[in-house]
Structure formats: C-alpha cells, structure tokens
Symmetry: C2
Subunit: 300 residues, 2 copies
C-alpha cells in the first residue's frame, strides 16, 4: 500500500515518521523549501530523549495527483478548503481519503466530495513540530479512525499494518467518535488557552474545575449528549492523564498562530443556533479566543 500524507505540520510529520516504517509514504508540503529540507534531512522524530530518522519522499502539494492507495489529509480544518477544491479538480478521483481534522464543521464539506471511500480520524497523540523536518512525540496515545462514507476494506488493511508503537483503532460510529473528541477539545482547549495553563491545572484548581463543569454542562445540553456524566468524567481523566501537556490551542495562542476555535467552538455555536438554544459560555469563550488571535505578538 502506498500512502500519501498532505500537510507537514506536527501531525503530518508524526504520521509520516511512523507509517513510513511499514508502508511507502510520500509527504506533500505547502512550500517547495520544506519538501527540499525533508528530502535532504529525512524526518527527525524525537521521543523520550531518543531520536530516529525516517527517509520519506517529499513533494510540494502542487505535485499531488492522488495516485497513492490512501491519502491522509493532515492539515488544520481552516486549511482544508483549498485541499477540497484541489481534490475536486483532479483528473482521476482518488479512491481513499482519511481526514484527521479536529472539530466537526468540515463533515459537511466532505459530503460534497465525489469519492467512494472517505474516512475520518481523531488523533490523541501529543506532537510538537520543532522545525520543518523535526517533530517531537511527547504524548504517546492512539489514533481512532472510522468510515465516513463507503466501505472499510482499505481502511481496515491500513489499521492492521500500522506499527505497534503507533496504534490505529477502527471505530464503528464516526459521529460518536468525532463528537467525543469535539467535546473534549471544546472544554480543555479554550480554557487552557485563555488561562494560559497546562491541562492539569483545570482540575487541580477547584475554581477552574467549576468553570470546566459549567462549560461542559452547557455543551452537553447543546449537543444533546447521552451519558453526560461519563463524558464529564472522561474530560477530567484526560486533564489528569495529560496534566503536564499544553493544549494545541494554548500552543497556537502562545505562538501567535491561528487556532482551531472555529472548528471547535464555532461548530457548537452553529449547532446551538440551529436548535435555537442559548450558549452564553461557549459564545464568550469563542470571542475571547477570537480576540486573542487578533492581538498577534501580544502573547509572547
């Protein structure tokens, strides 16, 4: 099986480093410079003080023809639009795509694609891009994948061929899988980003825990979540297990990058609107993060 990976951010580099151990991988970059760097240096993966190098073929995204058996799209949700456009214009429609974006707002876009097999995934790993060809794997976890449309033949094959140190788990219900990740992200990411604290602080600090529970309560009402208490406990457990981690949104804010707030809280706000429900907490957090995004350079 030949695998294409679109996007060479932290998740793209992480997947390329691990998947290339078992399958033939080509990683597609936004800039020609980054492709040159990866072809020259390989992908450097740092984990627990050890360092491995994987030599992976890299090309700029303009060279992508969708010729691989499976293409993993590992860009942020807000970078997805031009990729979707490009897919629709390919002379030969690629057969298998796996989308790894956070949030759920992009699912509507995926419905418009004329493909047979589309799957989606939620990445639980912690990874940090150090430079254009180096990534640190600082939170070992797993990747959940599920069929969004089409059949699971190739996806199952991909899951089975994954290296043992980089597990893929096939899920039956893509909606529950993604909603689950969305809820976790919607609570932990904005709060840690606004407060500029590590995940664990949200449960160590009794007042922050109170805000976490209030916010979760509003979100679970909007999304009409079953087993709301179990989900809340899951969020608390994740804060505990990743207590020393800085959430991706916190890292984005600290690095003056755009965040995924539209994909995460923006989606929940739209759900609230479509159900004619109020979302005062989600709305305020959304605008606080949007405001933080605006003051580039002020958070360093």
């Amino acid at each position: 099986m030949r695998v294409g990976i679109i996007g060479a951010g932290s998740i793209g580099l992480l997947f390329a480093a691990y998947i290339s151990r078992v399958l033939e991988v080509t990683i597609y970059t936004r800039t020609t410079e980054q492709a040159t760097e990866i072809n020259k240096n390989g992908i450097v993966l740092k984990k627990k003080g050890e360092q491995t190098i994987s030599f992976v073929k890299s090309l700029p995204i303009t060279e992508w023809k969708g010729a691989e058996d499976l293409t993993i799209i590992a860009v942020k949700q807000y970078q997805l639009h031009p990729i979707i456009g490009k897919i629709k214009q390919l002379p030969v429609i690629p057969n298998n795509l796996l989308f790894l974006q956070n949030g759920m707002g992009h699912l509507k876009q995926l419905e418009t694609l004329p493909l047979t097999n589309i799957s989606v995934g939620t990445v639980e790993h912690g990874a940090l891009k150090v430079n254009s060809y180096t990534v640190t794997h600082n939170g070992e976890a797993m990747t959940n994948v599920a069929v969004f449309k089409g059949d699971s033949t190739l996806l199952s094959e991909f899951v089975l061929s994954a290296p043992i140190e980089f597990p893929l788990v096939l899920k039956a219900d893509y909606f529950k899988m993604m909603e689950n990740k969305l809820i976790v992200n919607a609570v932990i990411n904005p709060l840690t980003a606004i407060l500029q604290v590590k995940n664990g602080e949200l449960i160590k600090n009794q007042y922050y825990l109170r805000v976490l529970k209030n916010l979760y309560s509003e979100i679970s009402m909007i999304l009409n979540i079953e087993n709301a208490e179990e989900h809340q406990q899951q969020i608390i457990d994740i804060c505990k297990n990743t207590s020393e981690n800085r959430s991706s949104m916190l890292k984005d804010i600290e690095a003056n990058r755009m965040t995924e707030v539209d994909a995460i809280l923006g989606f929940i706000l739209e759900e609230a609107q479509s159900r004619d429900m109020k979302a005062p907490q989600v709305e305020n957090l959304y605008y606080l993060i949007k405001g933080k995004e605006m003051i580039k350079g002020a958070n360093s």
Copy 2:
C-alpha cells in the same frame, strides 16, 4: 475639621496627600513600621513627573479612637470586617464615617453600625502605591460621595473644603452612584484581568467588545438597570478615556494580590441568586478570577 484616614494603600495615601493640603489629617496604618516610615519621610506624591511631599501624622490602626471629625475608611472591601468590629467596640462612637470601598456587598455591614452619619464614596482616580509612603497619581479624576445614612452637613463641608486639584462631588442618590461604579467595575475589571490587557483593548478588539456587550447585557438584566444603553455607552467611553490604564483587578492579579472580585462579581451573583436568575457569564468570570487568585506566583 480634623480628618482620620484608615488604610495607607494607594487610595489612603492619595487622599492623605491631597486632603492634608487643606485639613489636618492623621493616617492610620496596619503596621507600626509603615506609620514610622510615613512620619519620617512624609507622603511622597508623584504626578506627571513632579513630586510633592506632605508631612502627615501617622499612627498604627490600634491607636485609632475615632476622635477626628470625619474618618475616611480607605481599605479594600475584604479588609473591612475587622474595621467594622473595631468601630463597634470604640468607647465613644465616631460621628462621621466615609467608606470608599468598591462593590456594594458591604452596604449591609454598614447598616449594622450604630452611627449617626455614614457616607459612601466612589473613587475614580488611578493611583499606584510605589512603597510604604509613596504613591503615584496616574489617573486624574474625581471622587463621588453621597450620604448613606444620617445628614449631609459635615459631608458637604468636607466636599467644599477639598482642594481644587482633588475634586469631591456630592451626589444625591448613593445607590445609583454605587451601582454605576459597580457595573463599570464588573465589566472592565474581570475582562482585563483574565485577558491581561489594558482597558482600551476591550473596545479596540472587536471580539472583546462583543464579550463586553454580552457580559454587560447579563449584568444589566440581573440588576434590572434602567437606561441600559446609556450605561453601556458609559462603559465604552471609560475604556476609551482610560485606554492606557491597567484596571485594579489586573494589577492585583499581576501582583499576586487578592482581588475585589467578591465585592464586585460576587455581589452580582448573590443578586442573581436572590432573584432566581441565571448568571452563566458572571459566574464563569467569577470562578476564573478566583482560580487566578489561587495560583499565586504563576502570573508574574
């Protein structure tokens, strides 16, 4: 008229420096050391690069007998409890007290005092305590005062004797005066403290302005504010006019001091509870600030 001032923080020192230009002032300090420093060095007032020194008598609070014609209580609301206890235990009940605390939660305590004349004030000045006897006056404004209980004879006299560069304005309705300040504080202080921005940022940043308006809307509903739009415009004008200022709550958080959040948002939360109203935004901001207070040393 002899004036006593209890509390030698930024506001106590500021009042002592100005009022001592026209009246005999004694300033009462929490520690003997601070009284010694003030007696030795005078109160140093810095304004626009100029520096004046006022020699003001200072004694530790234990020496206060309530013998002055008017006593100004210039401690934070959360420091008020022992002062109220002390007043009640004085052999001779003082006749005129002026309370300068933010918030409105302390008004209930004032009702329990066996005094004839009690007045309250709202301080609009910006002041920063530099050391135990030095204060910077960096926001020239005014002080509003109003009778809370009793008559206004002595208060009027005090207002008329204030130096022209430190104006006192007598207001007819203490409730409206304090509520007005409360609303302004409740919106500007917590948002600037959580976002760690200057006042002006709340209106320059379109997203923060949206949060400001949402929060104000919730507060004005809870407090059943008349002329809600005028009040909102007033808050926006204050952000504009004090755009380079850091709010007192932001300064408290940055200096790892306790904030006045209980006096301000805590009071509004109690009002919401007593009226059986929801206050999701106020509640979350309240707990975010309480949480920030807990992580002393983490904000420096």
